[in-house]
């Protein structure tokens, strides 16, 4: 009898130790698993010069956008310039990888790292409670992000962003922007919602959302990018642009789709269902084609 009691006493510590080993594993599962490879299901509709539709752009943003020239892409400083994550995930329609971000010394997870195939921009989202750096700290293409879990959704805030674009065709987003991102997995789908607040170029929040499908066998190839010397594609020292009011291709998009020119330039008012009534009263330039969309893709 005494022997049985003694055996029991000896077993309890080992049982409790086993619990100790198992519990951290259970806690790790308390958050949705967003890690892995994700294949894009993204529809990028802002590909035309003069297409600012759906963007709550203000006058300053519109003015900047109108000066953008498509040849600016061929400037040496732009050839290998990555899109920030909030833009890149849409306009480059790229594969996405999410991996844990580990502290190099403790090997404990301190956040998540997003890797996008096109131009390979990366974004680290710290979930360990660290503060954002000083406003004077350097700004980066993908900024500085801290986040937390709200139920099954990873919510994070990004600031310290460099000036970049909201579309492929020159609609600007300033370095004063703050981006709130929500990543939510449901089943084998991953939804990413961006809410961009930019006091410089937007009159209100700009919300966009994209989806990915889980693709465990996906391979993201390297994205080598070589800068072609200045003067090879464009005359050295030149910066293609349109001076204010001189953009002669600005309204091509509106004309070809039968959109009132003013409406194609965006703005908060244009995002409301009530604007449809106003659209019907606005003038539309004579259409030169109704097959413009066939150029795309």
């Amino acid at each position: 009898m005494r022997s049985t009691k003694s055996n029991w006493k000896m077993k309890v510590p080992w049982f409790l130790l086993l619990l100790l080993v198992m519990l951290p594993g259970r806690m790790a599962r308390a958050q949705a698993d967003i890690l892995g490879e994700w294949s894009p299901r993204v529809y990028n509709d802002g590909v035309d010069v003069g297409d600012y539709t759906g963007i709550p752009l203000n006058e300053a943003g519109r003015l900047r956008a109108e000066t953008w020239h498509p040849d600016q892409i061929d400037l040496p400083e732009n050839e290998c310039r990555p899109h920030p994550i909030d833009v890149g995930l849409r306009v480059s329609v790229s594969q996405l990888r999410i991996i844990p971000e580990l502290d190099p010394e403790t090997q404990q997870q301190v956040g998540y790292r997003l890797h996008v195939a096109w131009q390979q921009p990366e974004q680290v989202i710290y979930t360990d409670g660290r503060p954002h750096p000083s406003p004077n700290a350097p700004h980066k293409w993908s900024g500085f992000s801290t986040g937390h879990w709200e139920g099954n959704t990873l919510v994070y805030t990004t600031d310290h962003l460099k000036e970049a674009y909201l579309t492929r065709t020159g609609v600007p987003r300033s370095s004063k922007s703050t981006v709130t991102t929500r990543i939510h997995r449901y089943g084998n789908y991953l939804n990413v919602t961006f809410i961009i607040n930019d006091p410089a170029y937007l009159t209100g929040p700009y919300i966009r959302e994209y989806s990915w499908v889980y693709a465990p066998d996906q391979v993201i190839a390297p994205f080598p990018c070589e800068i072609i010397p200045d003067g090879t594609i464009l005359p050295a020292g030149s910066v293609p642009n349109f001076l204010p009011g001189k953009n002669d291709i600005l309204y091509n998009f509106a004309t070809e789709y039968g959109i009132p020119p003013e409406a194609a330039l965006g703005g908060a008012e244009t995002l409301s269902p009530d604007y449809i009534k106003k659209l019907k009263t606005m003038k539309v330039a004579p259409r030169t084609t109704t097959e413009h969309f066939k150029r795309a893709g």
């Binding site: 309890v12 510590p13 259970r26 308390a30 139920g151 809410i195 929040p205 409301s272 449809i276």
Partner: protein, 298 residues
């Protein structure tokens, strides 16, 4: 060697017991913090009886999100496909198969209007893309109702069960709703059997994550259009939607986002993903019911 703490093996065992017990307490505390960090109001894992109580709550009472109220479209996605009627054959962003393209190419809005099919672009897979306002409220404890001013349509989200076998196809189909996102721990007892309490009653697993979004699956659809310009979906289509609501700390806006996946083996080569967003508004101001119109944006 005997000391007041006992023999060496026993002492080692007691130290281990103390360390293990301490770690269990610590881990339990961290788990509670973990739940708190995920926006839970309760910082402790619910006791089994609480889990059982929750299981008896109606979907209305158990709702982890409040989707009710008035909402207005914020058209930031696919603006020219939604604020205007797009051109015939413009199906750039829809993964149509050849049969789907063939049907889309025959779109004739005047014919739809004349033949009583003006509501084809107001069916469940397309209706939330049509700019407008929503009024969401509980029709009863198990049915969430969505009134839509564009086309004067109503969708009913039925919690529990499935579509009756005799359900006839309609524009809005039959929608089965559930609060999703919950995940329980393994409920087995280590030997493949269920966990039981001292009285032999089954104990559900302690939830690691609680439900936090609305999933709606809609079938029994009357064939209609995914876009205003006659992009078809068939009666075999399935619509799966995820509704989520949250506040944006910078603008103070409350958002409703709806992510939809349309699966249609007849007309699509792969599922179509659609995203729409709504802003919460205080009341019915601006509510503007329209009739179904085949050649109007709303």
């Amino acid at each position: 060697m005997e000391t007041k703490w006992g023999s060496a093996p026993v002492r080692a065992g007691r130290i281990l017991m103390f360390a293990a017990a301490l770690s269990v307490v610590l881990a339990a505390s961290l788990t509670a913090q973990d739940f708190g960090a995920q926006g839970r109001s309760n910082n402790q894992a619910p006791a089994p009886q609480n889990v059982q109580n929750r299981a008896t709550k109606t979907p209305r009472v158990a709702a982890p999100q409040d989707l009710t109220g008035y909402w207005v479209s914020e058209v930031t996605e696919l603006w020219r496909y939604r604020m205007m009627v797009p051109d015939k054959n413009d199906y750039e962003f829809v993964p149509l198969n050849p049969e789907g393209r063939k049907v889309a190419d025959t779109w004739d809005p005047a014919k739809d209007q004349a033949s009583g099919n003006a509501c084809k672009s107001y069916g469940a897979p397309g209706i939330l893309q049509v700019p407008g306002r929503l009024h969401i409220y509980w029709q009863d404890d198990n049915t969430l109702r969505m009134d839509i001013d564009s086309g004067t349509q109503t969708r009913l989200f039925h919690f529990g069960g499935s579509a009756p076998a005799s359900e006839a196809p309609t524009w809005q189909g039959f929608s089965v709703a559930s609060w999703e996102g919950a995940e329980n721990v393994d409920t087995r007892d280590g030997q493949g059997g269920p966990i039981q309490d001292d009285a032999g009653r089954l104990i559900p697993g302690r939830p690691l994550r609680q439900a936090d979004y609305l999933k709606v699956v809609t079938t029994h659809l009357r064939p209609g259009y995914l876009q205003k310009n006659g992009i078809p979906y068939s009666g075999n289509a399935t619509l799966e939607e995820e509704f989520d609501t949250f506040s944006d700390p910078y603008s103070g806006s409350t958002w409703l986002t709806v992510a939809s996946v349309v699966t249609d083996p007849q007309y699509l080569i792969e599922p179509l993903f659609i995203h729409v967003h709504f802003k919460k508004i205080p009341d019915e101001s601006g509510w503007d019911p329209t009739q179904c119109r085949a050649n109007e944006p709303r």
